[in-house]
């Protein structure tokens, strides 16, 4: 079976671990437990007719306390960048991360998950900003690890992008 390594990258507390938990185990916890280091999960997906084993690397949030080790990305076939739609600064952080990844690994298939879409009242990314991101080459969609919306779609989109590369 085809095996692909993918990484989830983003600032802290944007919901990377929750997205993986929703995708792999169909569970969600309200409790925020910061990730230290790396956790690798696996899931088999079907993209078109192609069965594929995703090795999903959930990396600790990147910030001043804990910088991302680029060695973890070695062998990655795709990246899911994750930002918190209620914190515009986390979108800027993702732009910075993409630059760092591009500098070291070149252009990899990627998608952007604007997570916490269930927090409608606190949402800060308006349609204009979303359009701006899409104009900037991002495949961006609102996701919610809490209610599951667009989570499968985000992983499927990346799988399809990796296959077509």
């Amino acid at each position: 079976m085809l095996t692909k390594k993918i990484c989830l990258l983003g600032s802290f507390s944007v919901g990377k671990t929750s997205l993986v938990a929703r995708f792999v185990q169909s569970v969600f916890s309200e409790e925020y437990l910061t990730t230290v280091g790396v956790k690798v999960d696996k899931k088999i997906v079907l993209s078109g007719d192609q069965e594929m084993m995703l090795m999903i690397w959930d990396l600790a949030g990147d910030d001043d306390f804990q910088r991302m080790n680029l060695n973890f990305l070695r062998g990655s076939a795709g990246i899911i960048y994750v930002a918190d739609g209620t914190r515009p600064a986390s979108v800027d952080a993702v732009l910075d991360l993409r630059d760092r990844v591009r500098t070291n690994l070149g252009d990899l298939p990627s998608v952007l998950a604007l997570n916490k879409a269930d927090l409608v009242d606190a949402w800060q990314i308006d349609e204009a900003r979303l359009a701006q991101l899409q104009d900037g080459g991002w495949s961006a969609r609102k996701t919610s690890a809490k209610d599951g919306s667009n989570v499968e779609e985000t992983f499927s989109e990346l799988a399809s992008r990796m296959l077509s590369k």
Binding site: K5, F12, S13, Y32, L33, T34, V36, G37, V38, K39, V40, M55, W57, G61, D63, F65, Q66, N69, N71, F72, R74, G75, R87, A89
Partner: protein, 384 residues
């Protein structure tokens, strides 16, 4: 003295010790620790890890760095950083591996971080929760500021209605004492309009300074013309207080210069500094504007002959809501506005006491490198 057995030491430390046999193949040395039997039971049983990628993709990735470390012959540890492995019963173990050269043997130590990991996580968790709380507080403050400034903005509409009514009255035939009252009202209205305008401009500039992004394509500035316009605007006020406004136009150079910023905001900055100097100038004194230039910077100085700035106020001069000596300032936003505008342009602003008496407020702007001219610059937009 009795020497402890190394195997016992390793066991006491709860370490799994492997020897590198070949690329991607590790041999377990000694007895497996209890956690290894939970996490990688097949490795604990056979004592061999011959397909590391199947056992642990993370460890497999680290072995690339470990191989480089072993080849280097260095004696220190190369650490993998922590990662999580899940046992068959769902329990998670936080592990860390270290590659070492021990007596010529390529050795890999893997340890269960246990309690020390939880302490580290708890510290990081607290730090991040504090950051989240700080971000939320900032967002709340910003929301309230926007609301407040919307209210300030809305105050303009009734004021404009009042001004229009007073202007219409002023155009009628009125008794002199009534006209005096109407004109007083108009004057107060204009002052209030100006104050609202200042507050909103300052707020907009602050927001741009904090959240805005510039594309760096500045239109350039004609400092001489912009300075001349600012002086003409302020001259009546200086004349009213019998303070001379002096400047050497030649020192400002001529034509459009490649500088960051725009003339509209330059005039507001200079106007604020002139207004500030005037407020602290005694009758019959002079306020001077001087330009200095070197290869990298243009410095604009506004010098007065007032009483100077008391030492205890100097450190906070450019902070929000700071007023000068004996509360002569307006609401204390002028110098703050100047600071954020100049900082946004990559310049500096400051204050120096003058020898003798008076103060010198200055700001400097970085000169941008000259670009080959592709088209003629457009006309200077002058402020009405």
């Amino acid at each position: 003295m009795e020497v402890p057995n190394l195997t016992d030491v390793v066991q006491a430390l709860d370490l799994a010790v492997f020897r590198r046999e070949s690329v991607g193949v590790l041999r377990l040395l000694g007895n497996p620790p209890a956690w290894l039997e939970e996490v990688w039971p097949s490795v604990a049983r056979s004592g061999l890890m011959d397909s590391v990628i199947e056992v642990s993709p993370y460890l497999d990735n680290f072995l690339i760095d470990a191989d480089a470390h072993w080849k280097s012959g260095k004696s220190h540890r190369a650490r993998s950083g922590p990662w999580v492995e899940t046992a068959a019963d769902g329990r998670e173990y936080n592990l860390e591996a270290s590659a070492m050269n021990v007596g010529g043997v390529s050795t890999l130590l893997v340890e269960d971080l246990g309690a020390s990991f939880e302490q580290r996580r708890a510290m990081l968790q607290t730090a991040r929760e504090n950051m989240l709380a700080y971000e939320k507080l900032n967002a709340e403050v910003q929301r309230k500021e926007v609301l407040l400034h919307c209210v300030v903005h809305d105050m303009c509409s009734p004021l404009q209605n009042m001004m229009m009514a007073l202007s219409m009255l002023d155009s009628e035939i009125l008794a002199p004492e009534v006209r005096g009252m109407v004109q007083l009202g108009l004057q107060a209205g204009r002052r209030q309009e100006s104050m609202i305008d200042n507050v909103l401009h300052m707020y907009a500039a602050e927001m741009r300074a904090h959240y805005g992004r510039d594309n760096g394509e500045w239109p350039g500035m004609d400092l001489r013309s912009a300075t001349q316009r600012t002086i003409e605007l302020n001259r009546p006020l200086f004349a009213q207080q019998n303070v001379t406004l002096a400047w050497d136009a030649e020192s400002a150079g001529s034509g459009r210069r490649r500088l960051p910023g725009d003339e509209e905001h330059y005039e507001r900055v200079l106007g604020n500094l002139l207004g500030n100097a005037l407020r602290h100038s005694p009758t019959g004194s002079t306020v001077g504007i001087r330009f200095e230039e070197d290869a990298e910077w243009i410095t604009i100085q506004v010098e007065d002959e007032g009483g100077g700035v008391p030492p205890h106020l100097q450190a906070q001069l450019f902070q929000k809501f700071q007023q000068g000596a004996i509360g002569r300032g307006k609401v204390g936003l002028g110098l703050f506005f100047c600071r954020i505008i100049i900082a946004k342009w990559g310049g500096e602003i400051g204050f120096s006491p003058r020898s003798g008496n008076g103060s010198c407020f200055w700001f400097k702007l970085p000169k941008l490198p000259t670009l080959p001219e592709t088209k003629k610059p457009g006309p200077t937009v002058s402020k009405s």
